[in-house]
Amino acid sequence: MHDLRFVIPPQDINREDFASSKPDFNRRSEIMRTDWGYKCMVTNIVRLTEHERLFQLHIIDPLERALFRFRPGQFLMLELPGYGDVPISISGSSNNHEFLELCIRKVGHVTSALFTIGEGARVAIRGPFGSAFPMDEMAGHNILLVAGGLGIAPLRAPLSWINEHRDRFLDVDLLYGAKEPSQLLFTWQFEEWKMINHIKLHTIVEHGDTGWKGQRGMITDLFNDISIDIAKTYAIVCGPPVMFKIVCSWLEQLGIPMNRMFVSLERRMHCGMGKCCRCMVGSTFTCIDGPVFDYWTVMNLKEAI
């Protein structure tokens, strides 16, 4: 009679040779990254405004710390065990290998929980994910950074990069608008950026109180103050969706080529790896093709901004 025993042996996914067999698995480090988080200690929390805080994280494991490298514009998934994970853009310097800086606004379930933790708490990060600003391509040009509100957070990474390699860039303008003077972030760095790094900083607020000596109005009012050499300018824009439209169309009218304007988009994300589809815009993913897009791509995506 036939031998009727036929049992498919269970296979161990964690075994090296199995993982490297077909379907192709040549990026083992990235397999680990899909679900494993790097454990971080919160080393410092800076209160920026009532709703925004700057969290400084230190990856505990030295090997993981050496592995974690990011480029300006990328984001990571910050996980608070038990509460969930959120995509947060990295707003610190990419050359700071010891500490990661994340500017977080208290707005949802996880971020509210994050505001209750103190220094020394352990959180997990996955990443870095997404595309980055092409800083090498921008070298040798003028840079125009336009930030609205919390949009300064993702722009602080390329700004740090520019400051660290200031001799590679020509004129750097930073236009920064906020609702109220109290909502301006990173104010303690304004003098440093202006005096040491020679960045032309223009700030504007919508509703200035009596103590405010700067300009009042919308960010578009700042456009008159600056002169742009369209032949050699790269623009980086980040802010609320309304701002993208106004600023980018203005820059386009000036004649800056679409491939020299970069925006950083935000969407709901659950995985950061192009699997959950929550962040799809038109037909691309914000998490793997973005969050940094050039304006040409954004123009061709439906409903992007």
């Binding site: 009727l4 996914i13 192709d24 990235e30 679900d35 959950c276 589809c277 691309t284 993913f285």
Partner: protein
């Protein structure tokens, strides 16, 4: 691929042996619908008699053996103010019997999406590697449009595929596992008549499709018709229940939720399948909804299914099984929506060609 022919009696013995010693799933009648038609699902089977080989189509697809509705991705254990992350990629080996060609095609598409690229999904891979898939061809139902999507035949992604040729099955053997087990049973090499029968069977299937959708240049049409009133028309009917995504063999969007264990000494991160038609699919923290209208959400489903993220994957994800059309409570089915879009397109074309300037 090796081809063999097996008699139906011997085949029954083969399946019975397989089913008795493995955790197996096959089509079984679970209920009758309102019209009295049988409702089939892939259910656990313990002997060959329980399998309905002549089933029409299952209500749910076979994707849930690979992408469960809910699965734990990782677990956190709390102790002394610290935590520890635990991840296990475990999959119990399963035998899946009687998958249709379109179901297997859908698995191939999922392979493409979930295993290629930068971040392959380990849990999906574990399940995919630990499965033994037996496909069976069938004569198309009245509302299938697999042929239009070119998924009415399948050449890869299964261990064994059986084509019904009269009193025999024509076997396409695609794995050594299947081959070595079939050696225990009486098979023979196909002769000329068997080959003729197979071709005839394939022809009958090919010509049996009553529903066809013209998908020529559909990605472009979807782009052009982005602001079409068709979306609003069908969107108004949509109930936003997400049933279409749940029964779809190739929908894979998901949501992550994290929760504490009741003992408070741990937490787990769970993945749940989601649907782009659900209201909060694109809601960001702070309450802004990037897709607030029903029509927008329905449109995105069609975008994903039929345009297939052309920039990324460059293939349509829909396989044409029409499970979503059958399951939809509001009576929305892909054939009507796409034809509606096409009609609009064609009316534009006739307008353009009949305009006086063109002559």
């Amino acid at each position: 691929m090796i081809y063999k022919v097996i008699s139906k009696k011997e085949f029954t013995g083969f399946i019975d042996a397989l089913v008795r010693s493995n955790s197996s799933f096959g089509p079984r009648q679970v209920d009758n619908d309102l019209r009295g038609n049988a409702v089939y699902q892939f259910q656990p089977v313990h002997s060959v008699d329980e399998i309905a080989f002549d089933y029409s189509a299952t209500a749910s697809s076979a994707k849930h053996f690979f992408l469960p509705f809910q699965e734990e991705l990782s677990r956190f254990l709390f102790h002394d103010g610290d935590w520890e992350q635990q991840i296990t990629y475990e999959a119990n080996p399963v035998v899946l019997i009687g998958l249709r060609a379109c179901d297997i095609s859908a698995l191939n598409i999922l392979d493409d999406v979930l295993l290629n690229g930068h971040f392959p999904s380990p849990s999906y891979l574990a399940r995919r590697k630990n499965s033994f898939v037996i496909g069976m061809d069938h004569l198309p139902l009245a509302d299938c449009f697999c042929k239009s999507m070119n998924h009415h035949t399948v050449t890869t992604g299964f261990n064994l595929f059986c084509s019904d040729i009269g009193d025999h099955y024509y076997l396409s053997i695609n794995s050594s596992k299947a081959f070595s087990f079939l050696r225990e049973f009486e098979t023979r090499d196909p002769n000329y008549d068997d080959n003729c029968m197979l071709v005839e069977r394939r022809k009958r299937i090919q010509n049996g499709f009553q529903t066809e959708i013209d998908v020529t240049a559909l990605p472009t049409i979807l782009d052009i018709e982005f602001d079409s009133p068709v979306w609003e028309k069908w969107g108004d009917k949509c109930l936003n229940c997400g049933t279409c995504a749940m029964v779809c063999p190739s929908c894979y969007c998901y949501s992550l939720t994290e929760s504490f264990a009741t003992s408070l000494n741990g937490a787990s991160r769970e993945k749940k399948l989601y649907s782009c038609n659900l209201v909060d699919f694109a809601v960001v923290a702070g309450g802004h909804n990037f897709r607030p209208k029903k029509g927008d959400r329905l449109k995105y489903r069609y975008y994903h299914q039929h345009r297939g993220f052309a920039e990324n994957a460059n293939q349509q994800i829909c396989v044409g099984c029409n499970r979503c059309g059958r399951a939809c409570l509001a009576g929305i089915n892909p054939k009507d929506v796409i034809n509606d879009l096409r009609m609009e397109k064609e009316s534009c074309m006739t307008c353009a060609s009949s305009s006086p300037r063109k002559i």
